[in-house]
């Protein structure tokens, strides 16, 4: 018997790790992985609440989150590859063409 708050604590911890990585890292691929970590944390709380409330709707939402994450990864990594081709760097601080 596990209280639901344990799952929510783990979920919040994963989300916080994702936010920390997103704010502190400079490599654009690591930033993308931090976003994946945040999505995983959210998925865990979806599943925990679905089990708590005895409905299957949370599972469907996790499915949709996964689809969106897959699409995001495909397009984002394509953008990273084409940026690397032109700028020869993965550092987000050096990709500042739109900056004033």
């Amino acid at each position: 018997m596990i209280p639901i708050s344990w799952y929510l604590l783990l979920s919040a911890f994963l989300f916080a790790c994702g936010v920390t990585g997103f704010l502190t890292k400079r490599n654009v691929i690591t930033l993308f992985m931090s976003i994946e970590l945040m999505l995983n944390g959210v998925n865990l709380s979806f599943i925990a609440f679905a089990t708590r409330l005895q409905t299957l709707d949370g599972h469907i939402f996790v499915f949709f989150v996964m689809v969106v994450a897959a699409a995001e990864a495909a397009v984002g990594l394509a953008i990273i590859i084409s940026v690397y081709r032109t700028r020869e760097t993965l550092n987000v601080d050096r990709v500042n063409l739109l900056k004033l």
Binding site: M1, I2, P3, I4, S5, W6, Y7, L10, F13, L14, C17, G18, T20, G21, T24, K25, R26, N27, I29, T30, F32, M33, S34, E36, L37, N40, N43, L44, I47, A48, A50, T51, R52, Q54, L56, D57, H59, I60, V62, F63, F64, M66, V67, V68, A69, A70, A71, E72, A73, A74, V75, L77, A78, I79, I80, I81, S82, Y84, L90, N91
Partner: protein
Amino acid sequence: MHQFLFLLFGAFCVGGAINLLLQKKTINSALSLIVVMGSLALIYLLLGAEFVAVVQVIIYAGAIMVLYVFVIMLLNAGDEEVVKGSNVAKIFGIPGLFAGGIIGIWVLLQHRPAEKLLPIGAMYGPADKVGELLFTKYLLAFEVTSILVLIAIMGAVVLTRRSRV
């Protein structure tokens, strides 16, 4: 037993997430993210979500992370550059973070509902029940998802093609 398994895989999750933040090389971060996703799949199994656990392994740990590792290898990504945080972040950020966390925990404890425990195998999310819901209640969203995936495929192809303009 249930608690032991949760604590074991939760510890794997926490360790992987911290390792992702601490590693300097991108490929090590990617591998620790795979550890996080694999142990999350096992936690989903503990919660009785069979379908989601299998999909987590196949899509996340399988497809998406392979794509990441492939791109990391392809681009030959070097080490992470260590940046020093600004002084403003050190002076205001860390105490602000602690204060925000304490206030948040206090507010949550004030409104804490009576907690029920989750029994082992409280609910099963087998693929047929999930599929039934997916093709009846959420049919429109499912169809829209297919368009999203199609656009993502086209976008990936167009973005990585070498243009001859």
